[in-house]
Symmetry: C2
Subunit: 113 residues, 2 copies
DNA sequence: TTATCATATGAACAAACATTCATATGAAAA
DNA sequence: TTTTCATATGAATGTTTGTTCATATGATAA
C-alpha cells in the first residue's frame, strides 16, 4: 500500500472539485498558444490593429515562413482571423477574449514587486 | 525592398505600444508553466488545499518521479511552495495570483458558446 | 546505527515544437 | 497568359520538454 488511508480519504473532496481531464487538456492547449514569445508578440501586435503578414514579420523580426507557420497555428485554434484584400491578408484577433488575456497578463507582470 | 513604405510607417506606432522583448519572454515563460496538463492539474489540486506529494500523485495519476519533477519546475518559478512536516512536504500555491489565473481561465472556458 | 518512508534528482529517451529552406498557391498586374 | 507579389506549406533539422528508470537524500522510527 503506497499511501496512508488518511490522505486518500481527503483526496475525495479535492478530486470532486478538480476540473475534468478533458477541460484540463483544453486549458493547457490554450495556454500553450501563449507560451511562445513569437506567438505572444504577434498577438500583442494585433491587439490594437489589423496587420498584414509582411508587417508582422517586420515587427517580430522573423522570416515570413516562420511567421506564417505561427499564424496558421493561431488561426487553427481560433485566436486570430483575417480578411483578404487583394493579395494581402489582414490579420486581427478573433475576439476580445484574447486581448483580455493579453491585457491581464501584462498587468500581472507589471504588478510584480 | 521587401515591404512598402506605407506599411512600414504604420509600424512605428504599433512597435511603440509593443511590450519589450524581455517582457514578452517573461510572459511566455509564465504561460508555459500552465501549458502542460499535468502541471495545470497539480495547480488546480492545490487551489484550495495543501497536499503532500503522495496525494498529488494519486490525484493526477502519475508516478512519484514525474510529479516531483513537475513540482520542482513549479517551485523554481515560484508558483508553489511547501512546508515540511516530518518526512512529508505539504505543497500549496505560492500566492493568490496563481489561483486567480486558474479561476479566470476556468471561467473563460465555461463561457465558450 | 540501521532500516524505512517520503521526496528529489540525474541520465536517457521519445515526442512535440519552432525555425529554416525550398517550393507551392493564388491573386493581381503587365 | 505570363510575371510578380503576398502568403502558405511540406520536409528536414535542431532544440526543448515530459516521462521513466534507477538511485540519492534526508528525516524519522526501530
Amino acid at each position: 500500500m503506497k499511501h496512508s488511508q488518511k490522505h486518500i480519504d481527503s483526496l475525495k473532496s479535492v478530486r470532486e472539485k478538480l476540473p475534468k481531464d478533458e477541460v484540463l487538456f483544453e486549458l493547457a492547449d490554450i495556454f500553450r498558444l501563449f507560451a511562445d514569445s513569437t506567438r505572444i508578440k504577434i498577438l500583442f501586435a494585433l491587439k490594437d490593429e489589423e496587420l498584414c503578414v509582411g508587417a508582422i514579420c517586420e515587427l517580430v523580426g522573423m522570416e515570413q515562413s516562420a511567421v506564417s507557420h505561427q499564424l496558421k497555428i493561431l488561426r487553427e485554434k481560433c485566436l486570430i482571423k483575417f480578411s483578404q484584400v487583394g493579395k494581402t491578408r489582414l490579420y486581427s484577433l478573433a475576439d476580445s477574449h484574447v486581448s483580455d488575456i493579453l491585457q491581464m497578463s501584462a498587468e500581472h507582470l507589471s504588478e510584480e514587486a
